[in-house]
């Protein structure tokens, strides 16, 4: 669908993202060249890796918009698949989970996205929380290994919830029928992505600049009160300024951005806690080339379903 190209405000939003990316890329280059800086070398590499990832996301997102709603479904379906793959690789499972895992990857996840595509809201909303929640323990019980039964069931269920169910609410935004906003839903998705990712970046930047008091150093030593609040305020401000691209008034936009930022923070913190729990700091380094998808979308996984439901509750009659 080339409809996206004729949406001027969408193009403006997208153009803004591209300008920002070019600026960030240049900053990254300059930082890399500067030898005598007191900024940590790995911090700069980290920053550049993040920007490279954003370029990729941006290209893929643009392509998916051109293809139309199916494109976004496929894109987010792939993201879910890769995130779940990473999660399951890192989380210890047992031999008896094999078939349950096969079902999770190849039946439950595709079905979730298929239902989103069908716009069958009542079904996709209960698919993983209700149906998979019953299916997974049953399937593990049938396999016959009862050791750590509850733990194994929860691990798989949680992975499906976060990587699959939660994230699938992002492309589901494209089907909300908001009066006066028909055909412009892609802007909503882009809005969510921008606010969420900018919150991640700004938290990081503020944290590096003025971060001092750690929030939960055991969970993630990089998260500070200064960084998180700085990110929250500045990303909310940015989101508010983007109200023109959404069906929201500036005040509503501020509320939505604020919610996205808080949830993004929560997602990042929870995924950090999982990583500390299974002690994968090392593993993260081992799979660096293929890994890191969960790190980049953890905040989106938490923000997407709540944002979806808020828009649906307040703006869809």
């Amino acid at each position: 669908m080339v409809a996206a190209i004729h949406d001027l405000k969408l193009m403006l939003l997208f153009g803004g993202v591209l300008c920002l990316l070019v600026t960030l890329t240049l900053i990254g280059r300059v930082l890399k060249q500067s030898h005598n800086s007191n900024v940590n070398r790995s911090t700069i590499d980290n920053f550049n890796a993040q920007i490279a990832a954003w370029w990729k996301m941006c290209v893929v997102f643009a392509l998916s918009l051109l293809v139309g709603p199916v494109g976004s479904l496929v894109l987010f379906g792939m993201l879910s698949f890769l995130a779940l793959r990473e999660y399951m690789t890192l989380v210890p499972t047992r031999r008896g989970d094999h078939r349950t895992l096969f079902w999770s990857f190849f039946v439950i996840m595709p079905l979730q996205y298929y239902l989103v595509g069908l716009q069958w809201y009542t079904f996709f909303a209960i698919m993983i929380p209700v149906l998979a929640c019953i299916f997974i323990p049953t399937s593990i019980a049938v396999a016959g290994d009862t050791a750590h039964f509850l733990e194994r069931t929860s691990k798989i269920q949680f992975g499906l919830m976060v990587c699959g169910y939660c994230l699938s609410h992002a492309p589901a935004l494209l089907q909300l029928k908001i009066p006066g906003f028909e055909g412009h839903d892609a802007r909503l998705l882009l809005y969510l992505g921008i606010v969420d990712q900018m919150n991640d970046l700004l938290q990081y930047v503020w944290g590096k600049l003025i971060g001092k008091h750690k929030i939960a150093w055991r969970v993630n030593p990089d998260k500070t009160w200064e960084g998180s609040l700085g990110g929250l305020v500045s990303a909310t401000a940015l989101g508010t300024l983007l109200w023109w691209a959404t069906p929201f008034t500036p005040l509503q936009s501020a509320g939505m951005s604020f919610t996205i930022c808080i949830l993004g923070f929560a997602g990042g913190l929870v995924v950090s806690a999982i990583k500390r729990d299974i002690g994968i700091k090392d593993f993260g380094a081992v799979i660096e080339r293929r890994g890191g998808i969960l790190d980049r979308i953890d905040s989106l996984c938490f923000a997407a379903p709540i944002f979806f439901h808020m828009v649906r509750y307040y703006f869809v009659p």
Partner: protein
């Protein structure tokens, strides 16, 4: 093996790489076209194809797996895959250790070593899983004697240990549908039989060379 790589082999290798998302690390040596015996731990049917696909294509064209005759000759499809697609060297499992237990005639084992040495020829490499059977992935099992005898027979060939991680979670023994988790493959430093080294110390050292490449460790 001047005919090059069979197209089905390339296809299966691509599929296996996709499923396992394997990340290859040459930790103890570099990829090289010289003749080598790659020996690794064995936990999955995917092991050979993933290890093989991890080799650069010039090397891959001359790398042949050692496989169990009883399993690979069981059905026509398996036989075709082993013989025509992967140019496997089919050997009888356990024959070599039996041959060395003084109860069986020694020539059975000796002819097997000769077969493998012949398969090496003057430019091929071999891929060998010295445990002889698939394990659970918890620890590397005892090695069978073939590696030792082959190393003595062909001292010019380099012995490269390799460790494959997570393959048992992707496609464990007894399952036929894979779960697409990520895996790691690490090639270690080549080893050789030291002068006067006997079989058991060498096999133990070889096993240690493989299991020391483990990067994630038991959960």
């Amino acid at each position: 093996m001047s005919e090059g790589i069979h197209p089905i082999a390339s296809l299966l290798a691509a599929v296996a790489r996709g499923i396992t998302g394997v990340q290859v690390q040459w930790a103890g040596c570099e990829p090289d076209e010289r003749q080598r015996i790659y020996f690794a731990n064995h936990t999955s049917h995917l092991d050979f194809i993933v290890l093989w696909s991890a080799l650069p294509s010039e090397i891959r064209a001359h790398a042949r797996p050692i496989a169990a005759k009883d399993y690979w000759e069981e059905t026509p499809l398996r036989h075709y895959l082993a013989e025509n697609v992967f140019k496997a060297v089919l050997v009888e499992r356990g024959a070599i250790s039996k041959a060395n237990s003084h109860e069986e005639p020694k020539f059975v084992g000796r002819s097997l070593i000769e077969d493998m040495a012949a398969a090496l020829g003057d430019r091929n490499s071999l891929i060998l899983f010295p445990e002889g059977t698939r394990g659970t992935g918890e620890k590397v099992g005892e090695f069978r004697g073939g590696l030792y005898h082959l190393a003595l027979r062909r001292p010019d060939v380099e012995l490269v240990p390799a460790y494959m991680e997570n393959m048992n979670r992707i496609l464990p023994k007894g399952e036929f549908l894979p779960v697409p988790m990520l895996s790691l493959l690490t090639f270690g430093k080549p080893i050789q039989v030291e002068p006067h080294e006997t079989k058991h110390p060498f096999l133990e050292r070889a096993r240690e060379a493989v299991s020391s490449l483990r990067r994630i460790g038991p959960a």
